[in-house]
Symmetry: C2
Subunit: 370 residues, 2 copies
């Protein structure tokens, strides 16, 4: 089904096939999960090139219900690109697309030179990524289960945040819980940002010890069945002071407003503006420097981007402000970051339904006081 | 120092500067550790472009002993590439290199169009990577400490491998120990491959329960001070049978032979051949399908590649077979993989010294029987 849709997109681009080098796209199309691999998607067949390391894995995949149909496995001889070139030469001078955002200039030039007249290569943009924006029922099922499992992890993790523990120790505990819960791996490097460190939205967990009076931002995620989920909560160590509670409530209000704006037909910019205006009402607009959310799927950051509408410039027209459709899954994660004070972020994962929105994660959102 | 060497390479390529987009190279040059960022290295200055999220981090770096000299921080306005283009326009029509193996075709085309006559962009190959192959004293110190710390982790981890635990549970335990030991993160996804699963050199840890009679391959690593170390041991659960002991001993002999071949002036292909011939002596040449080792540094896989010498083809000349020099750090990790039976791999990290070799990791190499 995914391959059929891709073939329609390939034909619409006036191409005979597509060389798929972006590994998340390879997984999406074939269920093959490795750290190397190339596919050539042709009208009747998919050629999947993998190296010796994956020989056994790819053959058991092919024999399973999850193997992609009409797929021929080709083992690497010497190098990926030599094998790819040798294989493409056996096709009949095809017009092949390559993935322009993934393929490096060096590799593109090398492939073109090696192929000579045996094929023409044309950069394409996001042919597979566009298919991935709206999730199919299997993907929604994986994301739903992942979000529930991550919520269960969160209930434990949030109570682990206690004075005396270092950020790194707490992050290691989070990671251990994620993997023990059955996730394949963490979907990104766990963030534990305490006290003034939380003023950096993407702080690395460091050696700082958590202490009473801190707000602690915990942002973590897992990969379940190949799909990424993502959750953030901010915890208070001891009774919060008035400013901590005020900023927390403002971010929570922004998240409520953004979630309420999610529905088919809305624009991503509308959802983002809802969060931004709520924070602005508390004089915290300047403290919110990132986008309100990002798509979730085979990658932890994918389309749609839930951010401010971008205006046209002298150099570029305004990019499209994604129309929200049923089947999209993304995060809603407003935050407020105040230098030398700290920060707050609250993040949940939502699915766009035909009627509006379903919040897939399920963890209390009131400020937890440890 | 690193920047000075790079500037010499830039001048030798007849360029005025280099746009650095590969993040490990960015870290190497500036010590900035983020998930996004671009640098423009010019003769007198380095311009480091980062977004809002890293503002506080990059300013505290600049104020520390680890900040790179003569670096000017530029905050992203709207997008990285718009900011980059606007900044390059303020320089005087420079001839700039880009990183050909890192920059995508799409991004290259977009930058070229946006810059027009304001600059010329030329793909370059590995200008920074070439500097990174031979480590400086600070890097050797980080790798040495990392290797010792990882060895300490291994002593615990190897005893954790017991019948009844699942591969995933054991991998989670490994990860927890790595992070608790003070590593910044795992340097790759931990491999726990037991029984017949170990026939796949890069098996993911799965749901299989370890059981008596298994050989279990544990391959794991950490990042210390920004530098990656890597270690593999194979453990027997219960008394090994004759074939398990035979294959283990053959791999150990191959590792000994390869380590003995490491010295300044050797070729990478010599080291690889030493391992391969040892395995061949036990009729296991076919069972060893990967390279003998890979460089370690800011990335977990970098130059030199310790693999078979590649011959010239009709399409390409023979690539250089790296000459081994003091200051190189790489893994020595022969293995044997037998379908439907299992596998063995033994991996240590070595530093090339003026006199020969120093093994940085330090964990008993005899078959551990749990």
């Amino acid at each position: 089904m995914r391959q059929q849709k891709l073939r329609a997109a390939i034909r619409a681009a006036d191409l005979d096939g597509l060389i798929v080098t972006h590994l998340p796209n390879l997984f999406y199309l074939t269920n093959f999960l490795g750290t190397a691999g190339v596919a050539v998607v042709m009208p009747e067949r998919v050629f999947l090139i993998v190296d010796f390391r994956y020989n056994a894995a790819v053959r058991s995949l092919a024999a399973s219900d999850y193997g992609s149909p009409d797929t021929e496995i080709i083992l690497v001889d010497r190098s990926y690109d030599e094998t790819l070139v040798a294989h493409v030469r056996t096709l009949q001078a095809p017009r092949l697309g390559v993935e322009g955002s993934n393929l490096s200039i060096s590799r593109f030039d090398h492939l073109r030179k090696s192929l000579g007249a045996a094929a023409t290569l044309t950069p394409t943009e996001g042919l597979v990524e566009k298919l991935r924006i709206v999730k199919d029922p299997h993907e929604i099922e994986m994301l739903r289960r992942g979000a529930l499992l991550l919520s269960a992890v969160a209930l434990d993790v949030l109570h682990d945040a206690k004075p005396g523990l270092s950020e790194q120790e707490l992050a290691a505990k989070v990671d251990w819980r994620i993997k023990s819960a059955g996730f394949e791996r963490c979907s990104f490097e766990t963030i534990v940002a305490s006290g003034t460190n939380a003023a950096h939205p993407h702080a690395h967990a460091g050696e700082r010890l958590l202490r009473a009076g801190d707000l602690v931002v915990l942002d973590f995620g897992g990969v379940y069945g190949g799909y990424c989920v993502d959750l953030t909560r901010t915890v208070a160590l001891g009774q919060p002071d008035a400013e901590q509670q005020r900023v927390y409530d403002a971010v929570l209000e922004a998240q409520d407003a953004a979630i309420a704006a999610v529905k088919p037909g809305a624009r991503a910019g509308d959802i983002d503006r809802a969060a931004r205006e709520a924070l602005g009402g508390h004089k915290l607009a300047e403290a919110f420097g990132h986008s309100t959310g990002h798509g979730l799927g085979v990658e932890i950051h994918e389309s749609p981007r839930i951010g401010p509408r971008r205006e046209a410039t002298a150099d570029a027209p305004a990019p499209p402000d994604d129309a929200i459709e049923p089947g999209m899954v993304f995060t809603i994660e407003p935050g407020a970051y105040v230098p030398d004070w700290g920060g707050v972020r609250i993040e949940d994962d939502v699915l766009v339904t035909p009627d509006g929105v379903e919040v897939l994660t399920n963890v209390p959102r009131a400020l937890l006081i440890n």
